[in-house]
């Protein structure tokens, strides 16, 4: 029983990180109509950049690591949008071109990591060591720190979307790109910023989860697929759906990992996704996915 509760707490914490990662992916689609298949590579890059600063070449504390790495992943995203995505926007088969281009980019970025850092797995130390006992349950400081970091980023994101000019522009573009352009919103700048924010969230996820999982150059794919499954299950473009699906699948992962082993996590996730889609084809909170 006590073990179960601790597993659930872990699941809940992973859930909020997954939500962060997945929401970046869905944001990028919702605003910019881009499904970014290189999303997982930014996760990898976030983790490896953090490793460089915290372990490999310096021993900065995590707070500084975040302050340095997140802007880098943001700028990488903006650059990708400018150089690759934007020229493709005028294509009639935009979706298809973006799909292939970002797939290629993912392979490029992952192998760049491989060439620079080698194939051996790396790991980040935990943010904080030790654990705290609350009402009889043991929670590691690491988990608590993860939760707080993720929650802070999530709150900043929500406030940003709701209160700032840029955030409001993003929401306007998501609802009606042409209308947004007519009222003077610089469409391409909003696309670029959105792309940057999304890759930054992916990078943040990489740093947060790296102490939990080992880092490998191709590790980002697992998280891309996890983001995909959360996003589809929740309903593409729905932030609320992403939130619920993130928690649901995070808790499921903790439970499955505890009872059956981590290898079973992805198969079980996929099974859940399959069932969700059979019952609700547009995902839990999806609205417009169905076609004739």
């Amino acid at each position: 029983m006590r073990e179960l509760v601790e597993v659930l707490i872990t699941g809940f914490t992973i859930g909020i990180v997954y939500f962060l990662v997945a929401v970046g992916f869905t944001l990028c689609y919702g605003v910019g109509r881009v499904l970014n298949y290189s999303y997982g590579s930014f996760f990898t890059w976030g983790a490896y950049l953090a490793w460089v600063l915290a372990v490999g070449y310096a021993e900065l504390n995590y707070f500084l690591v975040f302050l340095i790495v997140l802007p880098i992943t943001f700028l990488m995203g903006v650059a990708v949008d400018r150089v690759i995505i934007r020229p493709l926007r005028s294509r009639p088969e935009f979706d298809f071109s973006v799909l292939l281009a970002t797939l290629g980019l993912a392979v490029f970025l992952d192998n760049l990591v491989l060439v620079i850092f080698g194939a051996r797995t790396k790991s980040l130390p935990e943010f904080l060591e030790g654990s705290v006992t609350l009402a009889g349950f043991t929670i590691s400081w690491q988990l608590l720190a993860m939760f707080i970091f993720a929650a802070v980023v999530a709150v900043i994101l929500f406030v940003f979307m709701a209160k700032t000019r840029t955030g409001m522009s993003m929401r306007a573009v998501a609802q009606d790109p042409i209308g947004a352009r007519i009222v003077g919103i610089p469409l391409f700048r909003v696309f670029a910023i959105t792309f940057g924010i999304s890759t930054m969230l992916s990078g943040a996820g990489g740093i947060l989860l790296a102490p939990r999982f080992f880092m490998t150059p191709l590790g980002g794919w697992t998280f891309l697929v996890k983001a995909l499954i959360i996003v589809i299950a929740g309903g593409l473009g729905s932030i609320k759906g992403t939130l619920y699906a993130g928690f649901l699948l995070g808790i499921l992962e903790a439970l499955v990992g505890w009872q059956l082993g981590l290898l079973w996590v992805m198969p079980v996730w996929f099974l859940v996704l399959f069932l969700v889609l059979l019952i609700r084809p547009a995902g839990l909170f999806g609205a417009v996915a169905r076609k004739g």
């Binding site: 290629g104 490029f108 192998n111 060439v115 593409l236 169905r290």
Partner: protein, 362 residues
């Protein structure tokens, strides 16, 4: 209110029979000689004769066999990507399942490997259709997401599937080779493998050719061209996509089955990113939706990759960048370039002062 036209017996064949016969602008008759057919036949003839030239080099023969395997798969995949507009990213998954089906049946159940070809094809088709049922009702991007998830989940699934005989992480090895009238295929003699591979490759060419150049093909090209219009003319998007996904899965599973026995090993490694990205480049380089371009792309990629072997890790770096560059610079691939060249020549021929007969005399 009138209740005319309720239940009738007119068969589709009757109803669709082109009354009054063929009209100008109708589809060219199957196998009428055009570039597509010409290139296909040329490709097969060259491949049939090639062992006379390079038959001594087991190494080259091996590369050719592998090219034909992946050539068949890229054609099957292009049927979805280029013609039907179904963004399936799980093609390698169908391939792996075909390979596993054949390998498991021959190693665990003692089935004759030749029957494994059928089993592999069936496995590919069934899984493709099963995956299509929930996803094809949804918008195109969902198909891409769901099939990618399927592809990524397959590797852990096959690893945990040790209990049902998938061999876990190490996979299945060795796998029984084919035998013909007492003769057992071996690695040291590539000729028999080569001609079986050629046979299967030709099966892929023929099926894809007729899938594209048939009424059925017209329906999914129509959906790709203009989806709403196609539906308004009576085409069921769901049914057509499901059928084409089945055909594509079938061919891919078939090639997978052969692959298992040819390499004598199948493991979750076949689901690696490397294989996937190779396949992407084959189709892209050959020309998306430009039959038989993707098959030609397969030969180029396999030989190019062999040539770049000494670059090791940099090879994938190069290939990743190559995908981005092709998409941005030459999205229609080699066949697109051939198109442009042809148009250029035609324009040059049309420009002289006496336009008549110029085309014919040269």
């Amino acid at each position: 209110m009138s209740i005319v036209a309720d239940q009738g017996t007119t068969s589709r064949a009757d109803a669709g029979k082109p009354g009054g016969g063929r009209l100008p602008g109708d589809r060219p008759k199957a196998l009428s000689l055009n570039r597509q057919t010409g290139m296909t036949i040329g490709l097969v003839v060259i491949l049939a004769l090639l062992p006379l030239v390079v038959g001594d080099s087991n190494y080259t023969m091996r590369l050719l066999v592998v090219s034909m395997i992946w050539g068949g798969v890229s054609l099957a995949w292009d049927l979805l990507l280029g013609y039907a507009g179904v963004f399936n990213l799980g093609q390698v998954g169908f391939f792996a399942l075909g390979a596993y089906a054949s390998a498991m049946l021959s190693e665990n159940a003692g089935l004759n490997p030749w029957w494994g070809l059928l089993a592999g094809a069936a496995a590919g088709a069934v899984v493709a259709v099963l995956l299509g049922i929930p996803s094809l009702r949804l918008a195109g991007i969902y198909v891409a997401l769901l099939t990618l998830a399927f592809y990524e989940v397959l590797s852990p699934l096959l690893t945990v599937g040790e209990a049902i005989g998938t061999g876990g992480k190490r996979g299945i090895s060795p796998i029984t080779p084919y035998t013909i009238g007492g003769y057992t295929f071996t690695g040291s003699n590539q000729i028999p493998w080569y001609y079986v591979a050629l046979g299967l490759f030709v099966v892929c060419l023929i099926v894809c050719y007729f899938a594209i150049n048939s009424r059925f093909g017209a329906s999914f090209i129509a959906l790709h061209d203009s989806e709403s219009f196609a539906q308004s003319l009576g085409i069921s998007r769901y049914k057509v996509s499901l059928m084409i996904v089945g055909v594509s899965g079938l061919l891919t599973g078939l090639m997978g089955a052969f692959y298992a026995h040819y390499t004598a090993v199948v493991s979750p490694r076949v689901l690696g990113l490397e294989v996937f990205i190779y396949l992407v480049i084959m189709v892209l380089l050959g020309g998306v939706g430009k039959f038989p371009g993707p098959a030609i792309g397969a030969f180029i990629v396999i030989f190019l990759s062999d040539w770049l072997r000494e670059f090791e890790n940099y090879r994938m770096l190069i290939f990743g960048a190559l995908v981005v560059v092709i998409v941005m610079v030459a999205p229609r691939g080699i066949m697109g370039a051939v198109d442009s060249a042809q148009q250029f020549v035609r324009r040059r021929r049309a420009s002289p002062a006496t336009p008549t007969d110029v085309g014919r005399s040269s």
